[in-house]
C-alpha cells in the first residue's frame, strides 16, 4: 500500500497576508507529515448464514498527530454504511493495533457513529498499524489494515506559530522602547493616581509615627502577581528607608518571606542605611488563607498602621483586609490582577491599581527611562488589540451581510492570528 506524503500549510493565506502587511515578519513554514492510508476497501469475513454482518468501515487513515513529542496517532474513517440510527446493524466499533507487526490487540471500543480515535498510548521508534472492526450483534467485520506508521516528534509547534509571532512582536516592541529610552529619548507616561499617592502615604506614616503594613497577597512566588508585589516593594522600601519609617510585612508563604527580606534589605543598603534593616520586618504567619487573615486583622487593630499596601494576588480575603484597614484609619493603596477582587478594593481602599497598573507600578515608581520605555511597549500591544477588535468586528459584521469574499478573508485571517487552538 502506498503512502501519500501530503503537505499542509498551517496558516490560512489571508492570515499570512495580514501578518506580512501588518507585522512584516516572514512566516512561511511547511510542515511535512507522513500519512498512512488504505486505498483498498475492506472485505468482510465470509459470513455464516445466521450471522448479521455489517459492512466494514472504509477509508481508514492513520496519521501522526502533528506538533507533539511523538505521543499520538490520529485515526479516522468513514463509518460502515450499516451504521444507521434507525435499523442499523452496527452496535459499535473495535479498534485494533499491531505494534511492530506483532499480534493485533484491541485498544478500544467505540459507540456507533464514531469516525475517529486518537491513540495516545504510542511510543516513538515503534511502527504501528491499525484496523477497525464494525460490530454487529453477533459478528465482527474488520477493515483493511493501515500501512505501518511511526509517531513523529516535531521540534516546533506550527499550530502556535501565530502566538509565537505575536509574542515576538509584543516583546520586540517592549525591548525596542526600552532601548529607545535608554538612548535618552524622552517618553511620556501619564500620571497614575494610586502611584502618585505613594510618597504622600509614606510621608503620612512618618509624620504620625505609625508603621506601614505591606501585604503581598496570599499566593506564593510561583504567581506573577506576587512578583509584581515584590518589585513594587523594592521601590517602596527604598522610600521608607529614606524616611526612616517602620515597615512591617506579614506573609503567608515561606518563600515570599525569604524574597521579601532580600528585597527590603537591598533597598535599605541602596539607601545607605543597612544598619536600620532587620529580619523582623518580614514575618511568616501561616500558609492558610483565613488563618493569615485572622492574624493580619489582629495586627491591623493592634499596631494601627498609618498606611497599608495590599498588592498582589487576593481572593475572598481582599474585603476583610481592606475593611479592617479602613476601620483603623489607614490610607490604603491596593492593587491586584484578579478581576473578581477589584470591586472590593475599589470600594474599600483609597487608591486601587487596576490589573495592568499593578504590573506597571514598579517601572513607574522607579522613574528610570528604560523602565518607562517598557510601559510604552505595552501600549503597542493595546494598539494592536484595539485595531484587531475594530477591524475584526467591522469585517465580520459587513462580511456576514454582504458576502464579500475579501472582507471575509480578513476576518478569517484575523481569527487565525488570534486563535490559540
Amino acid at each position: 500500500m502506498p503512502s501519500h506524503p501530503t503537505t499542509s500549510r498551517p496558516s490560512h493565506p489571508a492570515m499570512l497576508l495580514i501578518l506580512f502587511t501588518f507585522f512584516l515578519l516572514p512566516c512561511i513554514v511547511l510542515a511535512q507529515t507522513e500519512v498512512g492510508q488504505t486505498n483498498i476497501e475492506g472485505t468482510p469475513i465470509v459470513p455464516d448464514s445466521e450471522q448479521i454482518v455489517a459492512a466494514p468501515v472504509t477509508s481508514l487513515i492513520a496519521a501522526d498527530h502533528k506538533y507533539d513529542d511523538g505521543e499520538m496517532i490520529e485515526l479516522s474513517w468513514v463509518p460502515s454504511i450499516d451504521d444507521q440510527l434507525v435499523d442499523g446493524k452496527v452496535i459499535g466499533y473495535k479498534v485494533y493495533r499491531l505494534e511492530d507487526d506483532g499480534e493485533p490487540q484491541m485498544i478500544t471500543e467505540l459507540a456507533p457513529g464514531s469516525n475517529a480515535y486518537n491513540d495516545q498510548s504510542v511510543e516513538r521508534g515503534k511502527l504501528y498499524s491499525y484496523f477497525v472492526s464494525a460490530l454487529s450483534s453477533n459478528a465482527e467485520t474488520p477493515s483493511v489494515r493501515t500501512a505501518p506508521i511511526e509517531p513523529q516528534r516535531e521540534w516546533l509547534n506550527y499550530e502556535l506559530l501565530n502566538v509565537l509571532i505575536m509574542a515576538l512582536v509584543l516583546g520586540g516592541a517592549v525591548i525596542y522602547f526600552i532601548e529607545t529610552a535608554r538612548r535618552g529619548k524622552k517618553l511620556f507616561v501619564r500620571k497614575i493616581a494610586g502611584l502618585e499617592a505613594v510618597d504622600e502615604a509614606i510621608g503620612r506614616a512618618t509624620e504620625m509615627g505609625r508603621p506601614i503594613l505591606f501585604i503581598p497577597g496570599i499566593l506564593d512566588m510561583d504567581d506573577v502577581q506576587t512578583l509584581a508585589a515584590l518589585t513594587i516593594l523594592g521601590r517602596i522600601a527604598r522610600i521608607i528607608a529614606d524616611y526612616d519609617t517602620k515597615i512591617f510585612m506579614p506573609v503567608s508563604r515561606s518563600l515570599v518571606m525569604t524574597a521579601g527580606r532580600e528585597t527590603i534589605k537591598a533597598s535599605y543598603q541602596a539607601a545607605g542605611r543597612p544598619d536600620a534593616y532587620s529580619d523582623d520586618m518580614v514575618t511568616y504567619i501561616t500558609d492558610e488563607q483565613f488563618g493569615y487573615v485572622a492574624a493580619v486583622d489582629g495586627i491591623m487593630v493592634r499596631e494601627r498602621p498609618a498606611t497599608v499596601f495590599l498588592l498582589g494576588a487576593f481572593f475572598a480575603e481582599s474585603l476583610i483586609l481592606a475593611e479592617t484597614g479602613n476601620s483603623v484609619g489607614a490610607i490604603q493603596i491596593a492593587g491586584t490582577a484578579r478581576p473578581a477582587q477589584l470591586p472590593f478594593f475599589i470600594a474599600a481602599c483609597d487608591f486601587t491599581l487596576i490589573g495592568e497598573e499593578l504590573f506597571a507600578a514598579s517601572a513607574y515608581l522607579s522613574g528610570e527611562p528604560k523602565q518607562m520605555g517598557s510601559l510604552k511597549g505595552q501600549d503597542v500591544g493595546k494598539a494592536i488589540a484595539m485595531a484587531a477588535i475594530l477591524i475584526g468586528i467591522l469585517t465580520v459584521t459587513i462580511g456576514d451581510s454582504w458576502d464579500v469574499e475579501w472582507i471575509q478573508n480578513i476576518t478569517t485571517g484575523l481569527t487565525e492570528i488570534f486563535s490559540t487552538k
Binding site: L85, P112, E323
Partner: protein, 317 residues
C-alpha cells in the same frame, strides 16, 4: 439539648418574633435615617448588627417573601407543566456536596414537579461525588413522598458513569451502550420507562442541574445542540452569567442560584399548594437573603442622603 426548652414556645412566638424583628429592623433603619438627616455618620458596628439581625431573624422566625418567577424561570416551569403526562424527562444531578446547598433545592423542586405531573423521570449524574447525593434525594423525595410511584416504570436511577462528556457523547445515540443497567443492576430492557427510549433523541425534556464541569455547558454542547430535545438548566449563582448567552436558543430557561430555586418553588406552590408543607428551602433561604439585601440597599440610600446633606452644609458654610 435546649431543643425542648425552646421549641414549644417558639411555635407560638414565631409570629410575634417576625413582627418584632421586622419592627426592629424597620424602626432601626428609620432611626438611623433621622440621625443621618442630621448628618451623623453611622458606626460600622451598627451596620454589622443590622446585617446579623436581618439574616438571623428570618432563620429563627421563618419569613418568606413572595417571589414572582422571572421569564427565564417561568419558561422552565411552563415547559414541565404543559408537557403531557407521561413525558420522558431526564434530570442530571451534576454537583457535589459543596455545591448542594445552592442547587439541591432546585433538584428537589424539579423532581416533585415532574412526579406531580406524572412525567417519567430518568435520573443520572456525571459526578462521582454526586452519586451519594442522588441516592439520598431519591430516597427522600421520590420514595419518601411518592411511595406509589414505581421504580423502572415512573422513574429510574441510572446512577453515575465515569467519562464526563464522553458519556454524553454516547448516550446521544444510545443509552444502553453506556448504561446497560440502572444503578441497581436492573437491565434497561426490562424497564418499561426505557421501552421506547433508545437515545437522548427520544426524550421530551432534559434538565441539567450543576455548576461545575462537566455541567450544563457540556450538556448543551454534546446533547442539546446535536439533538432536537428541549433543554433547561439549574446552576449555582456564580456560573449563571456564563450561561445566559445560551438562553433562549439552546436553553429554554435557566435557574440561577437560590434565587432561581425560590422563584421556581413559588410557582410550584401556586399550582400545587399541598407541596408547601414538604418544604421550600429556596424560599426559606431567600428570606434572610432578601432582608439582608434590603438592609444593604437601605444603608446605601442612607449613606447617600447623609452625604448630600453634609455636602450642602459645607457649601452653606
Amino acid at each position: 439539648m435546649l431543643d425542648t426548652a425552646f421549641s414549644i414556645p417558639l411555635v407560638a412566638l414565631s409570629d410575634i418574633g417576625r413582627v418584632i424583628s421586622l419592627l426592629v429592623i424597620g424602626g432601626g433603619l428609620l432611626w438611623i435615617l433621622i440621625r443621618s438627616l442630621r448628618a451623623k455618620e453611622v458606626d460600622r458596628r451598627i451596620v454589622f448588627l443590622f446585617i446579623f439581625i436581618a439574616v438571623a431573624a428570618p432563620i429563627l422566625f421563618p419569613i418568606t417573601f413572595q417571589e414572582r418567577a422571572t421569564l427565564i424561570v417561568k419558561r422552565v416551569f411552563d415547559k414541565v407543566e404543559s408537557s403531557p403526562a407521561g413525558s420522558k424527562v431526564l434530570l442530571a444531578f451534576d454537583f457535589d456536596p459543596a455545591m448542594a446547598p445552592e442547587v439541591q433545592p432546585m433538584a428537589d423542586a424539579f423532581s416533585r414537579h415532574c412526579l406531580e405531573k406524572g412525567h417519567k423521570v430518568i435520573f443520572m449524574t456525571l459526578w462521582a461525588t454526586g452519586q451519594a447525593l442522588l441516592t439520598q434525594s431519591l430516597e427522600r423525595v421520590v420514595r419518601g413522598e411518592y411511595p406509589d410511584k414505581l421504580d423502572g416504570v415512573d422513574y429510574i436511577n441510572l446512577g453515575f458513569k465515569a467519562g464526563n462528556e464522553n458519556v454524553l457523547n454516547i448516550i446521544v445515540t444510545d443509552f444502553r451502550m453506556m448504561f446497560p443497567t440502572d444503578v441497581n443492576g436492573v437491565p434497561l430492557d426490562s424497564t418499561s420507562i426505557f421501552d421506547d427510549v433508545k437515545s437522548c433523541k427520544d426524550l421530551d425534556l432534559i434538565i441539567a442541574i450543576g455548576g461545575g464541569k462537566p455541567g450544563v455547558k457540556e450538556w448543551v454542547l454534546y446533547i442539546g445542540d446535536r439533538v432536537n430535545v428541549p433543554m433547561a438548566a439549574g446552576v449555582a449563582a456564580v456560573v449563571a452569567p456564563q450561561l445566559y448567552p445560551y438562553y433562549p436558543k439552546q436553553l429554554l430557561g435557566l435557574l440561577g442560584g437560590v434565587k432561581g430555586a425560590a422563584e421556581y418553588e413559588s410557582e410550584l406552590v401556586k399550582w400545587y399548594p399541598h407541596l408547601k408543607e414538604r418544604g421550600t428551602p429556596g424560599l426559606r433561604m431567600m428570606g434572610p437573603q432578601t432582608l439582608a439585601h434590603m438592609v444593604v440597599m437601605a444603608f446605601i440610600v442612607i449613606g447617600n442622603i447623609s452625604y448630600f446633606i453634609s455636602r450642602r452644609r459645607e457649601r452653606i458654610q
